[in-house]
């Protein structure tokens, strides 16, 4: 029994002489997945709100959606899909011990995140310039459903944009960790969890594209 107890201790604690902190790879990943579930439920609620109002005002949603720039929406989709590829490749690179390649791929992902936000900025700017924003006098004169569509559009793409911004900040932090060898071939969970978060941001956009840009 004593030997069994000693064995179980040696599995969970670093051996004497190894000063490294205790790490729980599965626990860390599971925690991130549970966070991903809460995000799915959060955006799920907003998708329900969208679905309800679209069922109530189908024509208004159809007209309002026609005013969004499909090309810009599709470009942003391609940007996010490619950024998901580069962050996944960055995780593969660090697991293969290729630090410089991992840093280059992660930097590319962060740049794609910024490109997405810049596109979004110009898209919102054009809409606001045309007097289309929640509570605007122009929308007050139009059909109720159209005003609802644009409120949902700003609310949902805004919340998504906030997630993209957080994602880019996380990537910069991960780049610092990579540079300081705090993320390395044998300890990459921080980068893997950042990847999980970024893919979630991508999945949410996958649903936002047909609901807003292609609904016409």
């Amino acid at each position: 029994m004593t030997s069994a107890a000693a064995e179980s201790t040696s599995e969970t604690q670093p051996a004497e002489g190894h000063a490294g902190p205790h790490r729980d790879y599965i626990g860390a990943k599971l925690g991130m997945w549970i966070f991903v579930f809460t995000e799915l439920i959060l955006f799920g609620g907003l998708f329900v709100a969208y679905g309800m109002y679209r069922a109530m005002f189908p024509q208004d949603f159809h007209h309002a959606s026609g005013e969004l720039n499909v090309t810009l929406g599709v470009i942003n989709t391609l940007v996010l899909l490619t950024s998901s590829l580069t962050i996944a490749m960055s995780i593969t690179a660090i697991r293969l011990g290729k630090k410089v390649q991992a840093m280059a791929l992660l930097s590319t992902t962060a740049v794609f995140g910024c490109v997405f936000l810049v596109n979004k900025f110009f898209e919102w700017k054009a809409k606001i310039h045309h007097g289309i924003f929640p509570g605007s006098p122009l929308l007050a004169q139009r059909h109720h459903g159209e005003a609802l569509f644009f409120s949902l559009y700003y609310g949902m793409t805004g919340l998504h944009g906030l997630h993209v911004t957080v994602g880019v900040i996380l990537m910069v932090i991960m780049l610092v960790f990579l540079a300081r060898n705090k993320i390395r071939q044998d300890d990459f969970i921080k980068l893997e969890n950042t990847g999980l978060y970024w893919h979630l941001v991508d999945v949410i956009w996958i649903f936002l594209l047909p609901l807003f840009y292609l609904a016409a």
């Binding site: 190894h18 799920g44 609620g45 329900v48 499909v70 899909l81 593969t92 044998d186 991508d202 292609l214």
Partner: protein, 100 residues
């Protein structure tokens, strides 16, 4: 035993660049198909795109980019449970709206 070797058992599978690039190619192609269907002026085809292509794209991201395919059965069941809760939540709300 070092902490490095303790990790090794849990890090069984590394998704290769080739697989990731292939999945990305499929995702881009599906996006093209989705846009084409929505431009077809047929509400049924557009709905098909929304209800079939979009969840397929999301599944590909979950299974390959998020590594779910290579995770434990327990984690897979957790994801199924979370998505089931979401489907019940959405389904009941729509049923309530449509049949009240």
């Amino acid at each position: 035993m070092t902490s490095t070797t303790a990790h090794d058992a849990e890090q069984v599978h590394i998704v290769g660049y080739g697989t990731l690039i292939k999945v990305w190619g499929i995702l881009v192609a599906l996006t093209g198909a989705l846009v084409a269907l929505s431009a077809s002026h047929s509400p049924n085809l557009a709905l098909l795109g929304l209800l079939v292509i979009t969840p397929t794209k999301a599944s590909l991201v979950f299974f390959y980019f998020m590594h779910l395919k290579y995770e434990s059965t327990a984690l897979k069941y957790m994801v199924v449970a979370a998505i089931t809760v979401l489907v019940i939540f959405v389904g009941l709300t729509f049923a309530d709206y449509l049949y009240r």
